[in-house]
Amino acid sequence: MKYSLIFVALLSISSLNGVETTQEMQMQNTESASNMPQSQEQSAQSQIIIDDEISSNNNEEAVLSQEEPLIITVTGQGVAPLNTTSPAQAYALAKRAAIADGYRLIAEKVKGVRVDGQDLIKNMMVKRSTVRTSVHAMVRHANVVETAFKEGLCEVEMEITLSHSDFAQ
């Protein structure tokens, strides 16, 4: 009888401790749960900031300043016509076409492109989609840096140096 009473008393004490420990665990869990969103928010914010920094670094466009000139490099591509009389003629004509493409790319970068678009939709279906782009510019002092001719395709690397005085009015 005495032992049974002691056993019951021990059980009750242990059960009380268990409740306390479960309560403590619950408290800890609730605390951690309440902390979790904060930490997630913090990490998300830091991620956004990092992403912003990366994107700002990637999208950072070179701006022409008064101190140093700006060098723009492009690669123009041209194809040799099929009806050429010799490989030399094919090379010369492909190079000419590639230079024209390089000039166009320089003009696009420096002056910009006009873009017009038109979509015709009939019975919920795109019948005709048209995109027209145009560039008008005057390009001078552009240099051919490198020329490569491979399998009928000529690639010309061109560069132009822009200085602040060129645009000064």
């Binding site: 076409a97 024209a100 493409d101 000039y103 003009a107 027209r132 782009t133 008008h136 510019a137 390009v139």
Partner: protein, 137 residues
Amino acid sequence: MRSRDGNHSFSLRLCSIIFFFIISSAQAEEYYISYRYVVKDAIIYNESLDISPAMFTCNGKTYDPLTLQNNNSKDLSQILLRHSVEFIDYLHKIGLHVDHKEETLNLQNTSTTILTLKTKCFKVHFNDNFVKIAPLK
């Protein structure tokens, strides 16, 4: 009677003749030059270089001259034909107007690029061994 310093009038006359001969031989001529080429779908389509002697004198100052080798020729067309690569590179350096149009119709792309040197007056100095060409601003 001869003067103390020799035949002075004769040497003066000779010098003046040589001077006028040099001036007349080194006299600059003026030409109007235009250049244009069309590139369609990355393939060169048409190219034209037009040269014509100026009938009126051009005004302006020369800049960025180009010197080409010459074998005592006075025909600018022939000289430029002989040095066509060099001259066309030079025209690119002077500056060309870029006119580019591109159309994408139902995801199929076509493009036309026209590079033009608008008719410009060039001063040309002919010499026995070289020709100096410079545009006028």
